[in-house]
Protein backbone atom coordinates (compact mmCIF):
# COMPACT_ATOMS: atom_id res chain seq x y z
CA UNK A 1 0.00 0.00 0.00
CA UNK A 2 2.60 2.56 1.00
CA UNK A 3 5.52 3.07 -1.35
CA UNK A 4 8.87 1.50 -0.50
CA UNK A 5 10.53 4.76 0.56
CA UNK A 6 7.72 5.51 2.98
CA UNK A 7 7.85 1.99 4.38
CA UNK A 8 11.60 2.27 4.87
CA UNK A 9 11.11 5.56 6.67
CA UNK A 10 8.54 3.98 8.95
CA UNK A 11 10.76 0.98 9.58
CA UNK A 12 13.66 3.25 10.56
CA UNK A 13 11.47 5.20 12.99
CA UNK A 14 10.23 2.01 14.59
CA UNK A 15 13.75 0.65 14.90
CA UNK A 16 14.85 3.85 16.62
CA UNK A 17 12.07 3.58 19.17
CA UNK A 18 12.71 -0.09 19.80
CA UNK A 19 16.46 0.51 20.08
CA UNK A 20 15.80 3.18 22.68
CA UNK A 21 13.50 0.91 24.64
CA UNK A 22 15.94 -2.03 24.49
CA UNK A 23 18.73 0.20 25.81
CA UNK A 24 16.45 1.26 28.65
CA UNK A 25 15.64 -2.40 29.34
CA UNK A 26 19.39 -3.01 29.53
CA UNK A 27 19.64 -0.40 32.27
CA UNK A 28 16.72 -2.02 34.09
CA UNK A 29 18.49 -5.39 33.96
CA UNK A 30 21.57 -3.78 35.50
CA UNK A 31 19.33 -2.23 38.15
CA UNK A 32 17.90 -5.55 39.26
CA UNK A 33 21.21 -7.39 38.81
CA UNK A 34 22.71 -5.21 41.51
CA UNK A 35 20.07 -6.20 44.06
CA UNK A 36 20.20 -9.85 43.04
CA UNK A 37 23.99 -9.90 43.40
CA UNK A 38 23.61 -8.32 46.84
CA UNK A 39 21.15 -11.07 47.77
CA UNK A 40 23.66 -13.75 46.67
CA UNK A 41 26.45 -12.19 48.74
CA UNK A 42 24.28 -11.65 51.82
CA UNK A 43 22.88 -15.15 51.69
CA UNK A 44 26.31 -16.72 51.51
CA UNK A 45 27.57 -14.42 54.26
CA UNK A 46 24.89 -15.45 56.73
CA UNK A 47 26.07 -18.22 59.06
CA UNK A 48 24.35 -21.56 58.89
CA UNK A 49 21.92 -22.75 61.55
CA UNK A 50 18.26 -23.02 62.38
CA UNK A 51 18.00 -19.29 62.92
CA UNK A 52 19.31 -18.47 59.46
CA UNK A 53 16.66 -16.09 58.05
CA UNK A 54 17.31 -17.43 54.55
CA UNK A 55 16.15 -20.94 55.50
CA UNK A 56 12.93 -21.62 53.70
CA UNK A 57 10.86 -22.42 56.83
CA UNK A 58 12.00 -19.12 58.33
CA UNK A 59 10.78 -17.14 55.37
CA UNK A 60 7.06 -17.69 55.98
CA UNK A 61 6.21 -16.96 52.35
CA UNK A 62 3.20 -18.35 50.54
CA UNK A 63 4.33 -20.35 47.51
CA UNK A 64 0.75 -20.91 46.24
CA UNK A 65 0.05 -17.15 46.24
CA UNK A 66 3.31 -16.39 44.48
CA UNK A 67 2.58 -19.14 41.93
CA UNK A 68 -0.77 -17.47 41.17
CA UNK A 69 1.14 -14.20 40.75
CA UNK A 70 3.59 -15.86 38.39
CA UNK A 71 0.79 -17.34 36.29
CA UNK A 72 -0.96 -13.95 36.23
CA UNK A 73 2.15 -12.21 34.90
CA UNK A 74 2.79 -14.90 32.31
CA UNK A 75 -0.81 -14.63 31.10
CA UNK A 76 -0.44 -10.84 31.03
CA UNK A 77 2.62 -11.24 28.79
CA UNK A 78 0.48 -13.33 26.47
CA UNK A 79 -2.32 -10.76 26.38
CA UNK A 80 0.26 -8.00 25.88
CA UNK A 81 1.73 -9.81 22.87
CA UNK A 82 -1.80 -10.18 21.48
CA UNK A 83 -2.43 -6.47 22.06
CA UNK A 84 0.73 -5.54 20.16
CA UNK A 85 -0.24 -7.84 17.28
CA UNK A 86 -3.73 -6.31 17.20
CA UNK A 87 -2.41 -2.74 17.21
CA UNK A 88 -0.05 -3.52 14.33
CA UNK A 89 -2.89 -4.65 12.09
CA UNK A 90 -5.02 -1.65 13.07
CA UNK A 91 -7.54 -3.70 15.03
CA UNK A 92 -8.81 -1.10 17.50
CA UNK A 93 -11.29 -3.33 19.32
CA UNK A 94 -8.93 -6.21 20.02
CA UNK A 95 -6.14 -3.82 20.98
CA UNK A 96 -8.37 -2.35 23.68
CA UNK A 97 -9.57 -5.77 24.74
CA UNK A 98 -6.08 -7.18 25.23
CA UNK A 99 -4.76 -4.00 26.83
CA UNK A 100 -7.60 -4.20 29.35
CA UNK A 101 -6.82 -7.84 30.10
CA UNK A 102 -3.14 -6.97 30.63
CA UNK A 103 -4.04 -4.11 32.95
CA UNK A 104 -6.44 -6.36 34.87
CA UNK A 105 -3.83 -9.07 35.34
CA UNK A 106 -1.26 -6.48 36.42
CA UNK A 107 -3.73 -5.20 39.02
CA UNK A 108 -4.33 -8.78 40.19
CA UNK A 109 -0.57 -9.17 40.67
CA UNK A 110 -0.37 -5.96 42.69
CA UNK A 111 -3.46 -6.90 44.70
CA UNK A 112 -1.92 -10.19 45.76
CA UNK A 113 1.35 -8.39 46.54
CA UNK A 114 -0.46 -5.90 48.77
CA UNK A 115 -2.17 -8.79 50.53
CA UNK A 116 1.20 -10.50 51.05
CA UNK A 117 2.74 -7.30 52.40
CA UNK A 118 -0.31 -6.72 54.58
CA UNK A 119 -0.05 -10.12 56.26
CA UNK A 120 3.67 -9.56 56.81
CA UNK A 121 3.09 -6.18 58.45
CA UNK A 122 0.26 -7.65 60.55
CA UNK A 123 2.76 -10.16 61.91
CA UNK A 124 5.16 -7.32 62.67
CA UNK A 125 7.51 -8.43 59.92
CA UNK A 126 9.15 -5.43 58.30
CA UNK A 127 12.14 -4.87 56.01
CA UNK A 128 14.14 -4.15 59.15
CA UNK A 129 13.24 -7.45 60.85
CA UNK A 130 16.11 -9.42 59.37
CA UNK A 131 18.36 -9.45 56.36
CA UNK A 132 16.19 -11.81 54.31
CA UNK A 133 13.15 -9.56 54.69
CA UNK A 134 15.30 -6.58 53.84
CA UNK A 135 16.17 -8.24 50.54
CA UNK A 136 12.66 -9.56 49.98
CA UNK A 137 10.89 -6.22 50.46
CA UNK A 138 13.43 -4.28 48.39
CA UNK A 139 13.38 -6.74 45.49
CA UNK A 140 9.62 -7.28 45.35
CA UNK A 141 9.01 -3.61 46.21
CA UNK A 142 11.00 -2.30 43.27
CA UNK A 143 9.52 -4.95 41.03
CA UNK A 144 6.00 -3.99 42.17
CA UNK A 145 6.82 -0.35 41.45
CA UNK A 146 7.82 -1.36 37.92
CA UNK A 147 4.52 -3.22 37.53
CA UNK A 148 2.60 -0.15 38.72
CA UNK A 149 4.36 2.15 36.26
CA UNK A 150 3.72 -0.39 33.51
CA UNK A 151 0.02 -0.40 34.34
CA UNK A 152 0.02 3.39 34.11
CA UNK A 153 1.66 3.27 30.68
CA UNK A 154 -0.82 0.62 29.51
CA UNK A 155 -3.69 2.78 30.72
CA UNK A 156 -2.39 5.73 28.71
CA UNK A 157 -2.16 3.46 25.65
CA UNK A 158 -5.72 2.25 26.25
CA UNK A 159 -7.10 5.79 26.47
CA UNK A 160 -5.16 6.76 23.34
CA UNK A 161 -6.53 3.76 21.49
CA UNK A 162 -10.09 4.42 22.57
CA UNK A 163 -9.78 8.00 21.41
CA UNK A 164 -9.11 6.73 17.93
CA UNK A 165 -5.43 7.57 17.74
CA UNK A 166 -4.68 4.13 16.34
CA UNK A 167 -7.53 3.95 13.86
CA UNK A 168 -7.05 7.47 12.50
CA UNK A 169 -3.41 7.04 11.66
CA UNK A 170 -3.98 3.64 10.14
CA UNK A 171 -6.80 4.86 7.94
CA UNK A 172 -4.59 7.79 6.94
CA UNK A 173 -2.64 5.33 4.82
CA UNK A 174 0.46 4.82 6.95
CA UNK A 175 1.58 1.22 7.23
CA UNK A 176 2.36 1.75 10.90
CA UNK A 177 1.15 4.31 13.38
CA UNK A 178 3.16 5.85 16.17
CA UNK A 179 0.59 4.47 18.58
CA UNK A 180 1.38 0.94 17.42
CA UNK A 181 5.06 1.66 17.96
CA UNK A 182 4.32 2.98 21.46
CA UNK A 183 2.30 -0.15 22.17
CA UNK A 184 5.13 -2.35 20.96
CA UNK A 185 7.71 -0.53 23.10
CA UNK A 186 5.47 -0.66 26.18
CA UNK A 187 5.07 -4.36 25.43
CA UNK A 188 8.85 -4.77 25.59
CA UNK A 189 8.89 -3.07 28.99
CA UNK A 190 6.03 -5.25 30.24
CA UNK A 191 7.77 -8.44 29.10
CA UNK A 192 10.90 -7.39 30.95
CA UNK A 193 8.86 -6.94 34.13
CA UNK A 194 7.63 -10.51 33.59
CA UNK A 195 11.17 -11.80 33.01
CA UNK A 196 12.41 -10.16 36.22
CA UNK A 197 9.63 -11.87 38.15
CA UNK A 198 10.49 -15.19 36.45
CA UNK A 199 13.85 -14.92 38.21
CA UNK A 200 12.62 -13.40 41.48
CA UNK A 201 9.94 -16.06 42.02
CA UNK A 202 12.25 -19.08 42.33
CA UNK A 203 14.96 -17.01 43.99
CA UNK A 204 12.80 -15.71 46.83
CA UNK A 205 10.11 -18.37 47.19
CA UNK A 206 11.52 -21.70 46.02
CA UNK A 207 15.30 -21.93 46.35
Amino acid sequence: MADTAHAHHDAAAINRAKLGMWLFLGSEVMFFSGFIAAYIVLRNATPEGDKNPFNIPNRHLSVPLATVNTLALILSSFTMAMAVAASQRGDKQNTSKFLMFTIGLGCLFLGIKFFEYGTKFAHHTYPSTNIFYGCYFVLTGFHGLHVLLGILALFILLVGNERGVLVELHEGGGTRSSHATATECTGLYWHLVDVVWIFLFPMLYLL
Binding site: N15, K18, A45, E48, V63, T67, A85, R89, V195, F201
Partner: protein
Protein backbone atom coordinates in the same frame (compact mmCIF):
# COMPACT_ATOMS: atom_id res chain seq x y z
CA UNK B 1 -4.90 -12.56 7.98
CA UNK B 2 -3.25 -15.99 8.17
CA UNK B 3 -0.30 -14.14 9.63
CA UNK B 4 -2.56 -13.08 12.48
CA UNK B 5 -3.90 -16.53 13.29
CA UNK B 6 -0.39 -17.99 13.22
CA UNK B 7 0.63 -15.31 15.72
CA UNK B 8 -2.18 -16.38 18.04
CA UNK B 9 -1.28 -20.04 17.70
CA UNK B 10 2.41 -19.38 18.34
CA UNK B 11 1.72 -17.17 21.36
CA UNK B 12 -0.65 -19.79 22.78
CA UNK B 13 1.99 -22.51 22.43
CA UNK B 14 4.60 -20.33 24.15
CA UNK B 15 2.11 -19.44 26.88
CA UNK B 16 1.30 -23.08 27.59
CA UNK B 17 5.03 -23.91 27.62
CA UNK B 18 5.59 -21.17 30.19
CA UNK B 19 2.77 -22.51 32.39
CA UNK B 20 4.19 -26.03 32.18
CA UNK B 21 7.68 -24.76 33.08
CA UNK B 22 6.24 -22.83 36.03
CA UNK B 23 4.50 -25.95 37.33
CA UNK B 24 7.74 -27.87 36.79
CA UNK B 25 9.84 -25.40 38.74
CA UNK B 26 7.40 -25.43 41.67
CA UNK B 27 7.29 -29.24 41.68
CA UNK B 28 11.08 -29.63 41.42
CA UNK B 29 11.54 -27.31 44.39
CA UNK B 30 9.67 -29.82 46.52
CA UNK B 31 12.07 -32.58 45.46
CA UNK B 32 15.20 -32.21 47.55
CA UNK B 33 18.21 -32.56 45.31
CA UNK B 34 20.54 -30.73 47.65
CA UNK B 35 21.07 -26.98 47.62
CA UNK B 36 23.29 -26.98 44.55
CA UNK B 37 21.10 -29.34 42.51
CA UNK B 38 17.93 -27.40 43.17
CA UNK B 39 19.76 -24.19 42.30
CA UNK B 40 20.97 -25.53 38.95
CA UNK B 41 17.59 -26.83 37.89
CA UNK B 42 15.77 -23.72 39.12
CA UNK B 43 18.20 -21.52 37.24
CA UNK B 44 17.97 -23.62 34.07
CA UNK B 45 14.17 -23.49 34.08
CA UNK B 46 14.16 -19.73 34.78
CA UNK B 47 16.60 -19.08 31.93
CA UNK B 48 14.48 -21.21 29.59
CA UNK B 49 11.33 -19.30 30.51
CA UNK B 50 13.05 -15.93 30.14
CA UNK B 51 14.40 -16.99 26.74
CA UNK B 52 10.93 -18.00 25.55
CA UNK B 53 9.55 -14.61 26.58
CA UNK B 54 12.44 -12.74 24.99
CA UNK B 55 12.53 -14.68 21.72
CA UNK B 56 8.82 -14.89 20.99
CA UNK B 57 6.87 -12.35 23.02
CA UNK B 58 9.53 -9.70 22.57
CA UNK B 59 10.05 -10.70 18.92
CA UNK B 60 13.81 -11.10 19.22
CA UNK B 61 13.69 -14.17 17.02
CA UNK B 62 11.95 -12.32 14.21
CA UNK B 63 13.59 -8.94 14.34
CA UNK B 64 16.88 -10.36 13.17
CA UNK B 65 18.56 -7.01 13.19
CA UNK B 66 22.24 -6.81 13.94
CA UNK B 67 21.49 -4.57 16.94
CA UNK B 68 19.71 -7.36 18.73
CA UNK B 69 22.79 -9.56 18.78
CA UNK B 70 24.37 -6.81 20.89
CA UNK B 71 21.52 -6.99 23.39
CA UNK B 72 22.07 -10.72 23.80
CA UNK B 73 25.83 -10.20 23.99
CA UNK B 74 25.18 -7.66 26.75
CA UNK B 75 24.16 -10.59 28.93
CA UNK B 76 27.77 -11.76 29.10
CA UNK B 77 29.01 -8.85 31.27
CA UNK B 78 26.11 -9.53 33.62
CA UNK B 79 27.05 -13.20 33.91
CA UNK B 80 30.65 -12.13 34.47
CA UNK B 81 29.45 -9.72 37.15
CA UNK B 82 27.66 -12.49 39.01
CA UNK B 83 30.67 -14.81 38.74
CA UNK B 84 33.02 -12.14 40.05
CA UNK B 85 30.64 -11.33 42.91
CA UNK B 86 30.13 -14.97 43.81
CA UNK B 87 33.68 -16.26 43.35
CA UNK B 88 35.19 -15.02 46.66
CA UNK B 89 32.36 -16.62 48.60
CA UNK B 90 33.99 -19.76 49.93
CA UNK B 91 31.41 -20.41 52.61
CA UNK B 92 28.97 -22.35 50.49
CA UNK B 93 27.53 -24.37 53.36
CA UNK B 94 23.94 -23.79 52.31
CA UNK B 95 24.70 -25.34 48.93
CA UNK B 96 25.73 -28.62 50.51
CA UNK B 97 22.69 -28.75 52.73
CA UNK B 98 20.57 -31.87 52.16
Amino acid sequence: MSETSSHTKLYTIIFISLIVLTALTVWVSTVHLGGFGNLCIGLAIAITKASLVALFFMHLKYDGKFDHYFYVAALFPIVLFFILVGAPLTDLAWMTMP
